[in-house]
Symmetry: C2
Subunit: 314 residues, 2 copies
């Protein structure tokens, strides 16, 4: 094991959260100790929205959907005539989320299926190159949390393999996750649906559909972890009740030492402040109570993080 030459986690203030991470990593990597975990078992899982980047004012993938609809509607009359598209463009979230998210699934379908995986990738890349977050004015993929990037590097340097385990679309995240987090496509577990294989004159393609949609959230997170990773993680990082099941799956009766950690959004100035009553997604209620009796670490974003975004460093 390489010895960490520089102080780890420089953007983390000294405190319980930083200490619990460092103590955990020391425990599972120290040769000769009974708490040593063999490197292949050092699996860490990270939620994405609200844990690695913000989920406000809208989850970023939903911002993509709205921007795509805005971009395409002027040229596509059927899209312009679609009532749910109109609701989306008018910001009528209540209509989109009603009737078991029927409208949301409909606009997701309009912007996520019927094209090849390669075409989808290009569209997301174009969006990332042009769109700006309303609060920071920065491209969305520059708004990742600097302390979490450092945590990922620290774990990697200590023999961990990091996975994203997110309710977001795997195809959406795979476009930028390798560049931004250094996490390769095969370590992205997200919501997925089956593609359709076709051998065209131009070569083999996969056409995106919504068939067999798997929503990787809540109880679906340990299910997705088993399906894609095939073993229990020893470290789990989340921020909402949607992460509670995978925090349990990681930490309860795990034969190895384990770490559960929740990012608590307490910083309304630099980021957003919310928990039991979020503006949109990201409700943190049951999982915060569970943190107490399960011994999960809770990060106070306001006091534990010296900086939030990488662009604050320069």
């Amino acid at each position: 094991m390489a010895i960490q030459q520089t102080e780890p986690l420089p953007s983390w203030n000294d405190g319980q959260a930083k200490q619990s991470i460092i103590e955990f990593v020391a425990k599972v990597t120290k040769d000769g100790e009974s708490t040593l975990v063999p490197p292949p078992e050092r699996i860490a899982v990270f939620d994405n929205d609200g844990t690695l980047w913000p989920e406000n004012p809208l989850p970023f993938q939903l911002a993509y959907v709205l921007d795509e609809l805005k971009r395409r509607t002027p040229h596509e009359p059927t899209l312009a005539a679609d009532l749910m598209v109109q609701a989306a463009l008018n910001g009528d979230l209540k209509k989109l989320l009603g009737d078991s998210y029927k409208g949301l699934l409909h606009v997701l379908a309009l912007t996520h299926i019927g094209m090849t995986t390669a075409e989808f990738r290009l569209t997301v890349e174009d969006w990332l190159a042009s769109a700006a977050h309303p609060k920071s004015g920065k491209p969305y993929d520059q708004m990742v949390y600097q302390p979490m990037l450092e945590l990922q590097d620290y774990l990697t340097a200590n023999g961990f393999k990091n996975f994203i385990v997110s309710g977001g679309g795997a195809d959406f995240m795979r476009v930028w996750a390798e560049r931004v987090y250094g996490i390769p496509p095969e370590q992205i577990v997200g919501s997925t649906a089956e593609t359709q294989y076709e051998l065209r004159d131009s070569g083999p393609v996969l056409v995106k559909t919504m068939n067999h949609l798997f929503v990787n959230d809540k109880q679906g997170k340990p299910v997705g972890i088993h399906q894609f990773i095939g073993r229990r993680p020893i470290a789990c990082f989340g921020n909402s009740d949607g992460d509670q099941a995978m925090l349990e799956y990681t930490t309860i009766n795990n034969p190895y030492p384990s770490l559960g950690l929740i990012v608590h959004h307490t910083d309304g100035e630099r980021e957003y402040a919310y928990d039991v009553k979020p503006q949109g997604t990201g409700k943190l209620d049951q999982a915060l109570q569970a943190a107490d009796y399960r011994g999960w670490t809770v990060v106070n974003m306001k006091t534990d993080w010296q900086v939030v975004y990488p662009f604050e460093l320069s």
Copy 2:
């Protein structure tokens, strides 16, 4: 890149197959050449049944099913009374495979669902420790092809990441694949179904179901590769028409150099000899014709392999 100190692929006879592998690996790993492939893109995918171990006289996972039914039937009257169980125990494959594999899915369900993933793992481990292959008399997990093990090691030493992409059950393969092939659970793409998460007094468990069954075969293989790996492989190893789609997906219009390879079962003495008319699974017809015009390498098991199984070496 570490330089290979010993002669690679010692159990392969000199010939076109061995040469095409070595030339391909040299091409994609040579620094400064335009054909160099960055290590993260060096993804290799291997079919399992018939490519890494035999699929005769029955696919090994089906042998597991039959052995399980034999073991349990004396103690479980409802199992003994089941007509499809009786058909399975009488070797009536026609009945099992008729009506769109209805009987097969039924006996698969009886032996693969309703238990936790941990319980399933133990049952498979017990079977591997006790069952013997009818031809060799050896445990099934000792019947992997020695030349393919050497090929995996050779690729790994050259910066490749190897994945299994098989129609077999992911949960079944993950029990032994890390020990036998050195391939970790997160690099096993197989047929999967959703599990059900439960937090029991004993801790969190995942109960196996057949819901959202995904059969990772034929056109499903590129679909599975995209869903689980998220990028195109540059090397693909198969043995049957079930692998044709992933061979196409790997080799046609790939921006990187690529290798497609088919193991042709030509050795009735040491292994089994079959192609267009297999005894059971593993039909090789269209894919063998395609090998010609696609430039895929065809391995003649009888003449290309000095040994078939590791136990021949000792």
